[in-house]
């Protein structure tokens, strides 16, 4: 159910390099995400997956190359301008603000476009949050924090979401809930770039995969191409 916008990719990354201070982390990353897709970046720890998301969002120290979002080149923009184009990041560390209540956390990100989820929809997806609105952000369990971190970017109207290891350290029942949420978002036409260590989780919702190694994309393939040959490649690279 891709939206009826320009036929080009939602996100086109080419030759993306990124640095943290002196250390050169991304060495020319190339991939694209098409409208309505769920694309997953796989790879070992330190391969550059999180840095790729941060570089797309504009929150690494220095970045070079090209990141085109809905046809707009964003490499020269600051992160607040990039966010206002209609993308949002749910970071690995979740970044729930401890000095804000749950409700304030939820309402913090400003609307960047019309068409964000209403609070009713969000509470239907994450009923736990509705009961915890007055609590401090630091008082939530890991699962609730993850739900809040996803919920707060659904309100903003951003149609392109980057989720960094949303299942990390969570109980199976919560992982299932998050998987259902992502599937629901996909049905609604959201475009999602996912970073996951948990391949079995990613396999339930992804359209395509890219495997990263040493700050580059090594291989990419579609979910429909998950034959023995590609599984073997994954096995070699990820130990899946």
């Amino acid at each position: 159910m891709a939206m009826a916008e320009a036929a080009g990719p939602t996100l086109a990354v080419s030759g993306l390099q990124a640095w943290y201070g002196e250390s050169h982390v991304l060495h020319g990353v190339d991939f694209e995400v098409r409208p309505g897709e769920v694309v997953t970046l796989l790879g070992r720890n330190g391969a550059g997956k999180t840095t790729t998301l941060k570089a797309i969002m504009g929150i690494v120290g220095k970045r070079r190359g090209s990141v085109a979002f809905a046809g707009h080149e964003t490499i020269g923009l600051t992160s607040d301008r990039i966010a206002r184009l209609g993308m949002a990041l749910c970071p690995e560390e979740r970044a729930i603000f401890a000095s804000l209540s749950v409700g304030e956390n939820l309402l913090l990100p400003p609307r960047v476009a019309p068409g964000g989820l209403t609070l009713e929809r969000i509470f239907a997806l994450f009923p736990n949050l509705a009961e915890r609105l007055g609590s401090g952000g630091a008082k939530l369990s890991g699962g609730e924090q993850q739900m809040l971190a996803i919920a707060r970017i659904l309100r903003t109207g951003a149609r392109f979401l980057m989720l960094d290891e949303p299942t990390e350290g969570l109980a199976p029942v919560i992982i299932r809930q998050i998987g259902e949420t992502i599937a629901e978002l996909k049905r609604e036409g959201f475009t999602i770039l996912l970073v996951e260590q948990n391949f079995n989780f990613a396999a339930t919702i992804s359209d395509r995969y890219y495997v990263m190694e040493h700050g580059r994309i090594e291989i990419g393939f579609a979910n429909t191409d998950l034959d023995a040959n590609n599984m073997e490649k994954l096995h070699v690279r990820l130990g899946v």
């Binding site: 969002m57 504009g58 929150i59 600051t78 992160s79 607040d80 990039i82 966010a83 206002r84 949002a88 990041l89 970071p91 970044a95 603000f97 401890a98 000095s99 804000l100 304030e104 309402l107 913090l108 990100p109 400003p110 960047v112 970017i153 903003t156």
Partner: protein
Amino acid sequence: MFLGHAITAQQLFGQLLIGLINGSFYALLSLGLAVIFGMLNIVNFAHGALYMMGAFVAYFLLHELGLNYWWALIGAPLIVGAFGALLERTLLVRLRGLDPLYSLLLTFGLALMIQGLFQNYFGASGMPYAIPQQLNGAHNLGFMFLPNYRAWVIGFSAVVCFATWFLIEKTRIGAYLRAATENPTMTRAFGINVPRMITLTYGFGVGLAALAGVLAAPINQVRPGMGADIISVVFAVVVIGGMGSILGSIITGFTLGVVEGLTKVFYPEASNTVVFVIMAVVLLIKPAGLFGKVA
């Protein structure tokens, strides 16, 4: 013994009033410092000089433009706040991310320069600023005379302090501010223009100092040295309350003003040092300050 002389009710309430007045200035000034420190991690040593500028702007508005006290109450914070925003954009921004010691030195230097410039042009002696006519006179409360202007200063300061606390702790803008204090990178990645917010926050904190300066103008004279006189006590207040704590700076400001006033009644010799003694004790027992969170 220090209770050797009889203490009249008039003396007691008189000093209590002076304590509350000083406490109002301590609260407004330390509140501005707390707002600035919380968001920018800057120890703003220029605060006293900017407080003094607030009083001078009120003076100029009256004598050059014929704009009275009530206009100054709005105009001086805006003008001095804009000057602060300019300082932030041109100078302080270059020190972002460095050790707070650098911005402390820069603002200390700025304070000396600003005060020196005003002293050069206006001399060290004070210029009078009349109490606005609506606030002339006093009320007899039975146990003491309460000058209307002093009542106004205490009441207005309390309202401004409360409003600032409310703005930061209870509103959406405040949530942005707290979020940006805690994690500026993610806050910006949500589409919030954090650098602009930092500039405005500095301007706001400086504006509070200027507001205190306008309030002080009719009580003390308008003097280049007025900021330097008060700022060391204000820093002691900030240390006692805990750096960056909004509510802490307000409560500590008013309380220490009163403590100072009462000391003047019971043991006048210690009235100039009592705040610093309390600071030393607090630092020994609770190094983060009474309301400060341990980082």
